[in-house]
């Protein structure tokens, strides 16, 4: 490199997050002594507008050609600082991030001197790498203005309708022979208690009228290849097809847990699931039940699955109210472990149920919800410990309704593998960021909505579905996306064509190609996320990652152990 290195170092106080534990002025003084460092600045918040301005001004004033920021984490802040470099006319890959907060001040709050020393080490390592940084160019990838929606339940339909309204072609792939998903099996919907069928038909009418929506019934996605903007999708089943889409929304829903071998569910006739009750209501097969007991959290909250299924409390209340209306003489109890009637509307709804005579009984948050469900003299008897009265209570019942959680569908795993998107411990799809990217996958161009994300009711499915449509519309409306250039450089001389890199690549961005009569690895930059799995697994050292080159990393290590 002919140009003389001129490195600027910015050290952030992060209020007191860093400055409270690390002697930042001392770190700054130290940074000034490092080779090629020509400018050092302490900021209270480097990420503030003022801090950003200082970086930009310094680049211009001191002709900086490398910038190091020692502050928090690249996970949240790297794009910001890179943009500052770019806006000041510096290639943004000539920026190096040093984390002296999460990996230093926060973990050494009780060892302030050592924390300061460690911060210096980290800054020295960062500067060492900065010296070896090379300018890189982002790749602009065109985006197909069509979307695939996997799953034709309320979430999928709503996503599709929103995207179509925004002007994009949408393909819905649905396994069953009709759209609607679980809605087809539900009697009515809270909180307005409208008929589920009517609600669904209204949606289906809209789908029918929407020319931009193409529905594949009794079909499944066979394979997906490619990357954001350019997914090649093969559909198998009744309607086959090959389509190219820019984005994908996963909305495969969930299914109710079947409480086999619990509470004699399989044995007693009048012990049914909430889902079965929906069907009885739908088919108008209501018995002359005088005493009805709903049991919440059957299988949920630590019994068979660990999580709270969110929608079951409201669903029980809805059905209890319905039954009370149909059978005014009946006594209805809901045994719960803490009612989840959150917000304004649901809490009001629950109060209405109390007024109408639905009785709620709280039991401890322990497994199982009730201690016994037996038949005594031909009658069902529900026994449980009442924490307030501190003794066992028994309630007779003509009908017992078990509220079971929603659980992930079997095909979730297949889809997870096909799209290379993760599932969480609970079996539901895992979002890019819990708070700020709740319907995005970490993989660009793929989004999620509805109960495949976590149990959600109709209102929530609809909001999520439209949200996912909003997210998916961004790259499609723009027409292109930029990909980071952290792609591998393959030394074809050294490559043995073993294919390990192809195996380990989680994004399908590596493939083997024939060159000069032998197999060598090749990278698909647009699909590549720059994770480096290929590079670190190549036993022949044939793969070197851009921006994380061996010599760059070695330089850091050398400084670390200096």
């Amino acid at each position: 490199m002919a140009e003389k290195l001129r490195i600027g170092v910015f050290v952030c106080d992060c209020g007191t997050n860093i400055a409270g534990f690390v002697n930042v002025p001392e770190v700054c003084e130290y940074a000034k002594t490092l080779p090629d460092v020509v400018y050092v600045k302490e900021n209270m918040y480097t990420c503030s507008n003022a801090g950003i301005q200082e970086i930009m001004d310094a680049i211009k004033e001191y002709k900086l050609n490398r910038v190091v920021v020692a502050s928090c984490t690249p996970r949240t802040h790297e794009p910001l600082f890179r943009k500052a470099c770019e806006d000041a006319g510096l290639n943004k890959f000539l920026f190096e991030f040093v984390n002296i907060r999460d990996q230093c001040s926060w973990v050494h709050q009780k060892e302030k001197e050592d924390a300061t020393e460690k911060a210096k080490d980290l800054v020295r390592m960062g500067v060492a790498k900065a010296r070896l940084l090379e300018p890189l160019e982002e790749i602009k990838i065109p985006v197909e203005r069509k979307a695939l929606v996997i799953g034709g339940g309320v979430a999928g339909i709503t996503s599709a309708l929103s995207l179509a309204k925004q002007g994009f072609e949408v393909y819905i792939v649905e396994k069953e022979n009709k759209l609607g998903g679980l809605l087809n099996h539900v009697h009515s919907l809270y909180p307005s208690n409208i008929d589920a069928n009517e609600f669904l038909n209204e949606l289906l009418e809209k789908v029918k009228k929407e020319k931009k929506i193409h529905v594949f019934l009794e079909s499944e996605v066979e394979s997906v290849e490619g990357y954001i903007g350019n997914f090649n999708v093969k559909i198998k089943g009744k309607k086959k097809g090959e389509i190219k889409v820019g984005t994908i929304i996963v909305a495969i829903g969930a299914k109710p847990y079947e409480p086999m071998y619990m509470y004699n569910y399989d044995e007693y006739e009048n012990v049914i699931t909430q889902f079965e009750l929906e069907n009885l209501l739908k088919e108008n097969k209501i018995g002359k039940w005088k005493k009805i007991v709903f049991i919440q959290c059957v299988g949920g909250r630590g019994e068979r699955v660990r999580y709270c299924s969110r929608i079951c409390c409201m669903n029980s209340i809805k059905n209890a109210r319905l039954l009370k209306k149909l059978l005014p003489e009946s006594q209805i109890y809901i045994i719960h472990k803490g009612l989840q009637t959150y917000g304004t509307v649901y809490e009001d709804y629950c109060r209405k149920a109390r007024e109408e005579g639905i009785r709620f009984v709280r039991v401890r948050d322990a497994v199982p919800t009730v201690s016994s469900l037996e038949k005594k003299d031909g009658k069902l008897v529900v026994g449980f410990y009442h924490p307030g009265l501190r003794r066992k209570i028994e309630l007779d019942a003509d009908l017992v309704v078990l509220s079971t959680p929603l659980i992930q569908r079997e095909d979730a795993k297949k889809i997870s593998q096909m799209l290379k998107v993760p599932l969480g411990q609970d079996g539901f799809f895992f979002e890019a960021h819990v708070k700020l990217r709740p319907v995005d996958f970490a993989t660009d161009g793929i989004y999620m909505a509805g109960s495949c994300r976590a149990p959600a009711d109709i209102n929530e499915c609809i909001v999520q579905a439209v949200a996912a449509a909003s997210r998916a519309a961004i790259p499609m409306a723009k027409g292109y996306v930029k990909a980071e250039p952290y792609t591998p450089v393959i030394d074809e001389e050294k490559c043995m064509g073993c294919g390990v890199c192809v195996e380990v690549c989680p994004y399908g961005a590596m493939r083997l190609v024939e060159k000069d009569g032998r197999k060598v690895a090749e990278n698909v930059p647009a699909a590549c996320k720059g994770c480096g799995a290929c590079g670190s697994s190549c036993i022949h050292k044939a793969i070197n990652m851009r921006h994380f080159k061996d010599e760059q990393i070695m330089a850091q290590i050398e400084e670390a152990i200096e």
Partner: protein
């Protein structure tokens, strides 16, 4: 392509703005405070992941402010609306900041020298700020504002120190409010929330006992940028607490006050208890609840983790009374222990009251200006809770975040994206 107006620069407004701007739609983001960021900017950590709240929000605030498709109109209010969906004419009042934003560098010299101390609403009134101020250090834009209710120059024509101090010559006492007119295709209302002041729950002694705080005060107390730099201190001697109690539903699920469930408070208290334990690892917490509302993704697991790893004890009871030990200022909580069937006393050093989310103060006023309805609790009403969950009662105006009903950050963000899609249908 037409423009969109977003009212409210909290996380919901920011998310909606970015979704629209990223796809090429120009957005005006009107915020009544001098900085965007809203409530989330004042929280310490976010629940269920314990991420530093401002740390994950600040990049979004900056991205929003510097986005070529976003015009942030901070310290502004919408005062008039005409027209219909697809073609709204909006009047916005840009309140005078008495500081020339093009010159101000946000250096803070003026704030240091300003002699007028005023109650600091951004720190839940726990300390003072100056009459010329930044709401918080990470404010976006980082430009000073003079509070004309307190500034000596503006109220009494005295002082004038900031003008003398300012190296950039940014102070302009003659600045006037400005009215600007915007033409937009759609509007997203995301005006956020206010919090219940539990002064009328005499039994808990808020405002009377030094060591009883609301959860929002606690957020500031445990925050490194807050008035105590993140150290929990108890009256009278500033010692740090060893036992903290959190009382849920203080004002919420209460037919005499806020009948609704505030959705987030159970999780907020669990989070707060975890943070306290992370600060001081011998610290024990007690959470008094009536139904622990932990319904969202991974929340239930989080509550169990709190019990297992962070010395949290959950007690099913709403305490009837808190008494103060006059000497130690410790607090004695009276609650019915259902395991033993008697009223017990628990002595702690600090009590945090989980007060509910209410509609923001001016919600009704804004609703009137826009011609949209509010519900019986004062939140912005959706036209149909089930079918049209982001549509207000007026076509072309959408809603997101806590002004619609209490919800957490995740759900605010989801609703914001949804509102953005709806707005894009009209503007795109």
């Amino acid at each position: 392509m037409k423009d969109v107006l977003i009212i409210g620069g909290g996380v919901a407004g920011i998310q909606a703005a970015l979704d629209l701007a990223d796809r090429g739609i120009h957005v005006y983001l009107v915020e009544k405070e001098p900085s965007i960021g809203g409530r989330m900017a004042l929280l310490d950590k976010t629940m269920s992941t314990n991420d530093c709240s401002i740390c994950i929000l600040a990049p979004k605030m900056n991205e929003c402010f510097s986005h070529p498709n976003v015009d942030v109109l901070e310290y502004s209010e919408v005062i008039g609306l005409e027209g219909r969906a697809g073609d709204f004419k909006v009047k916005v009042k840009r309140k005078a900041k008495y500081v020339d934003a093009t010159k101000c560098t946000g250096c803070g010299d003026c704030m240091e020298k300003c002699p007028t101390e005023v109650p600091n609403e951004y720190n839940s009134y726990l300390d003072k700020r100056k009459a010329i101020f930044l709401p918080f250090p990470q404010a976006v834009p980082r430009k000073a504002t003079i509070d004309d209710r307190y500034c000596l120059k503006l109220t009494k024509n005295r002082c004038g120190l900031c003008e003398k101090i300012c190296k950039a010559g940014a102070i302009d006492y003659n600045q006037k409010d400005q009215i600007i007119e915007l033409n937009v295709a759609a509007i997203i209302v995301a005006v956020g929330l206010s919090l219940y002041e539990p002064r009328d729950l005499y039994e808990y002694g808020y405002g009377k006992y030094d060591n009883v705080h609301t959860w929002m005060e606690y957020e500031r107390l445990i925050n490194a940028a807050g008035p105590t730099h993140g150290h929990l201190k108890c009256s009278p001697d500033g010692r740090r607490p060893k036992k903290i109690a959190f009382i849920q539903c203080v004002g919420s699920r209460d037919v005499k006050r806020c009948p609704w469930c505030s959705s987030v408070c159970c999780m907020v208290s669990i989070k707060s208890a975890m943070l306290a334990n992370e600060h001081y690892n011998d610290l024990e917490s007690y959470i008094f609840y009536s139904d622990l509302r932990v319904f969202s993704k991974r929340f239930y697991e989080y509550s169990k983790r709190g019990e297992r790893d962070y010395k949290i004890t959950y007690i099913h009871a709403r305490p009837g009374e808190i008494k103060e030990d006059k000497r130690t200022k410790n607090l004695i909580i009276y609650y019915e222990d259902e395991k033993e069937g008697k009223v017990k006393e628990l002595e702690v050093e600090m009590v945090i009251l989980a007060t509910p989310i209410m509609p923001a103060k001016d919600t009704k006023k804004i609703a009137n200006v826009l011609g949209i309805e509010t519900d019986e609790h004062g939140f912005i009403k959706t036209v149909d809770f089930l079918k049209y969950p982001v549509e207000t009662t007026k076509p072309g105006i959408f809603v997101a975040g806590c002004c619609e009903r209490p919800k957490d950050i995740t759900e605010s963000v989801i609703q914001a994206s949804a509102a953005a899609a709806k707005a894009a249908e009209l503007a795109g």
